[in-house]
């Protein structure tokens, strides 16, 4: 008893208590990330294709889920049968007792297509210009042989469509607008000539494209489902064929990484439920970077004013209270403000002043990455202001005095001594702001995020950085794919994978900032906090 009271008095119980809480928190974090990682990373691993006899005939597909019997409910098995265009849905439930004679046929194929999702079945034949050139197993070999060239062709077509054609379209549009506002007849003729040359270039490209498209359609493949239905698709509609039951372990690993790479580096297809999410990654990173570029100067100037210049009075106290309270405003309110102020007021004014020829089509008067980033910058200002104020206060007084005693003005001292000394602290604020900003979705939905952006905010066409464009975002992508898509069952794994990538992006951005901060600190010799 005495020992226990002594033990209590020493405060050990609180050490134990906080230790337990800490490990609980850690466990929760690890559990969360682990769960998402397992759910997400498992998506790309190829599963065996099971063929069995079901109540309505043969079934072929991956077993995706199993439900144990519950009360009067019998045990159930879920098959991913694919062939959305033929069966109407990707998944089918069966009672376990209805499924007989499971086997893993070696020749079963999983075929990823550009349209209508995955096909599971076999290849009947392959034709060139309507003439069959190979059947059955020979056809599979033929398809495998010809697929890389066709895929390359397909990529080429997409590249031309997105690059040169888009660029020409824009130029033609500019030309047309210039002609509308052109005053003199001479200017008109010049523009007309320009338009004509652009138009002929455009036609030429179109002809080229048509040719490529016809080439791409030369080969067609007839697919055969397990219950005997056929479907003919162009060879160019096939992304990849997977002989799932024949793959060696090494083959599976290769397939896994090839799918992972496609996911990270490709554009989405089929209303975002397939393909990759590269534009969303890019949009997220870009938005966070633009936000950082905006928030740092804004906050540093505010903090400098509060800490270095303003005399402590009513105004300063009011500003400080306002800034701190800004942190508590719900983010959707910022979204509404961003929409009303940035998009409608500022954007609308910019349009009227500089883009009046394009009206009523808005340029800046509609959501875009600039307005979304600015809204987020506003949202994160309090975080950075508080961190910066702290950092400014921590710069040793004797360094300021050293600078002033050498005849530096106050501003020179701030610029040369105080700000460099406070830089690591400012970066700390930025790190917090980036983490917050990267995860916000609500305000973005009002200020420029879209489900599918036709072009990226940064590309090869002048002026390269298009701040007026709409963009895709990982957070919004999760919401859209998981809960707004017609085929949400098929898209569920994408949600986990996208969430994992969002986490990864935040971590990577933070690591970058941390590295920067470490470098700065090393330069300061660890003298300031």
């Amino acid at each position: 008893m005495k020992r226990f009271t002594q033990w209590l008095r020493r405060g050990n119980i609180f050490i134990w208590f906080s230790g337990t809480m800490l490990s609980l928190c850690l466990l929760m974090i690890v559990g969360l990330v682990g769960f998402i990682a397992v759910k997400g990373l498992g998506v790309f691993w190829p599963h065996a294709l099971i063929q069995a006899q079901g109540p309505e005939g043969a079934v072929l597909g991956e077993i995706t889920s199993f439900e144990a019997p519950l009360g009067t409910e019998p045990a159930k098995v879920q098959f991913r049968v694919g062939n959305r265009d033929i069966y109407g849905q990707d998944f089918k439930w069966f009672q376990a007792s209805e499924i007989h004679g499971r086997q893993e046929p070696k020749d079963a194929l999983l075929i990823e297509r550009l349209e209508n999702g995955t096909f599971i079945g076999r290849i009947q034949d392959i034709s060139q210009d309507g003439q069959p050139i190979a059947k059955a197993e020979a056809a599979v070999e033929e398809v495998k042989r010809r697929l890389p060239a066709t895929n390359k062709l397909q990529a080429q077509i997409r590249g031309i469509e997105k690059g040169a054609v888009g660029e020409l379209n824009r130029k033609l549009e500019d030309c047309r607008q210039a002609m509308e506002s052109a005053g003199s007849a001479e200017a008109r003729t010049v523009l007309e000539q320009q338009q004509n040359s652009l138009q002929s270039r455009y036609n030429q490209l179109q002809a080229e494209l048509d040719q490529l498209r016809t080439t791409a359609k030369t080969f067609t493949v007839t697919l055969l489902t397990v219950d005997g239905q056929t479907k003919e698709i162009p060879l160019s509609g096939i992304v990849r064929i997977v002989p799932a039951n024949e793959l060696s372990w090494f083959g599976k690993v290769r397939l896994y990484f090839s799918r992972l790479w496609e996911f990270v580096a490709d554009d989405p297809r089929e209303s975002n439920t397939e393909g990759g999410i590269f534009p969303a990654i890019f949009g997220t990173v870009m938005m966070v970077l633009i936000m950082s570029v905006m928030v740092v100067p804004l906050s540093v100037v505010t903090a400098l004013f509060l800490r270095e210049y303003a005399k402590d009075g009513l105004l300063v106290r009011a500003t400080r209270v306002a800034v701190n309270n800004l942190a508590g405003v719900p983010s959707i309110v910022f979204g509404v403000f961003g929409l009303g102020f940035f998009v409608y007021s500022v954007g609308g004014t910019i349009d009227q002043l500089f883009y009046s020829s394009k009206l009523p089509t808005p340029t800046y008067g509609t959501g875009g990455i600039l307005w979304a980033s600015l809204t987020l910058a506003l949202l994160t200002v309090p975080v950075v202001v508080v961190a910066t104020e702290e950092a400014l206060a921590a710069v040793p007084r004797n360094q300021r005095e050293a600078s002033l005693a050498l005849g530096a003005t106050k501003w020179q001292t701030i610029w040369n001594v105080v700000l460099p000394g406070a830089a690591p602290g400012i970066l700390t604020g930025l790190i917090l702001a980036m983490s917050r900003g990267a995860g916000e979705v609500a305000p973005l939905m009002l200020t420029g995020v879209v489900k599918l952006a036709p072009s990226m905010p940064l590309d090869g066409s002048f002026p390269f950085l298009h701040l007026d464009r709409k963009f895709m975002h990982l957070g919004f992508h999760i919401y859209d794919v998981g809960f707004q898509s017609p085929n949400s069952e098929a898209a569920k794994p994408m949600v986990f994978m996208t969430a994992l990538l969002l986490l990864l992006v935040v971590v990577l951005l933070n690591l970058f900032a941390l590295r920067l901060r470490r470098k700065l600190r090393a330069r300061l010799g660890g003298s300031t906090f």
Binding site: A402, S403, A405, L406, G407, A408, V417, S527
Partner: protein, 293 residues
């Protein structure tokens, strides 16, 4: 401008006859060094303080101080801590302006111009008065950039001028040979004594007329301290130096004149040798002999 106050340094003429050599020197070195050659006594006043009162808010820290510092001499301020030595020193380059609630009455002149006159450019005043602080405070920049800082903020961009100024300043501060091969390295990697000499070099680089030092050796070991004392000896050929110290041996070693402060008042000032051997005031004698302080 004549000030009828016995405490101030008498006009040079009063000392026209060479001072009698001290009967017993406070330190052995004092005897070896030609502390007060005749030229010192005839040099004109560089700094003049007249009727200076300073208030921190309602608390008065300096009471009616009058003082003169002759050109190219070393003046040391001694006295128990809290007596206002640093405060007076910081009045000489108006560093007290930075503290809220400070009120200053009286007159401080460098050369002939009153630095507290309205309209005085504080920035250019501070360029004329280099300052070295109690705790060495190099910037977290390279050695080179530390010394070049004063010139850079004046807008000097020419690499040649900067290089030359950095070299001469470091040489004057007796640091050149130690650091000439690592000018690009961080100043924070130097030893304490080197850092303090770097701060001196930094102050010298803007070519001031007066050098103000606030207990520059209080954080240094004896060897580093003696290096700085030797340096002060060299520097007084070109600069007028005011040094605050709580170490009376140091005051005796390095300074030509000494001013003793007590409770914000200047008790007495005069030739160092005289002050240490034959102080006029009782309080001074008590302090010097270690009866309080």
């Amino acid at each position: 401008m004549e000030i009828e106050d016995p405490r101030i340094l008498p006009e040079p003429l009063a000392y026209a006859e060479p001072p009698a050599s001290p009967p017993s020197a406070p330190s052995a070195r004092l005897a070896e060094l030609p502390l007060t050659d005749a030229s010192v006594l005839t040099s004109p006043a560089m700094l003049t303080v007249e009727g200076l009162n300073l208030f921190y808010g309602s608390k008065q820290a300096l009471f009616d101080v009058d003082l003169k510092v002759a050109k190219n001499t070393v003046m040391s301020f001694i006295g128990p801590s809290g007596c206002g030595k640093s405060t007076l020193l910081r009045c000489l380059n108006r560093m007290n302006d930075l503290i809220d609630g400070v009120r200053i009455e009286g007159k401080v002149s460098i050369g002939d111009s009153n630095i507290y006159e309205p309209g005085v450019d504080v920035i250019s005043l501070r360029k004329r008065t280099g300052m070295v602080f109690q705790k060495s405070n190099p910037f977290p920049k390279s050695i080179y950039e530390n010394v070049a800082y004063g010139l850079r903020i004046q807008g000097v961009r020419d690499r040649g001028i900067l290089d030359e100024a950095v070299e001469t300043s470091l040489q004057s501060a007796g640091l050149w040979d130690e650091v000439k091969d690592r000018l690009k390295e961080s100043a924070l990697g130097m030893s304490g004594g080197q850092q303090q000499r770097l701060c001196i070099a930094r102050a010298l680089a803007v070519d001031p007329e007066v050098l103000l030092m606030d207990e520059p050796c209080s954080a240094l070991d004896p060897i580093a301290t003696s290096r700085i004392e030797e340096l002060i000896f060299e520097l007084k050929k070109k600069f007028t130096i005011v040094i605050v110290t709580h170490n009376m041996q140091q005051a005796a070693r390095v300074s030509d004149f000494t001013a003793f402060f007590w409770l914000g008042k200047l008790i007495e000032s005069g030739l160092t040798e005289k002050m240490f051997t034959n102080p006029r005031e009782r309080t001074t004698e008590d302090y010097i002999t270690g009866r309080f302080g």
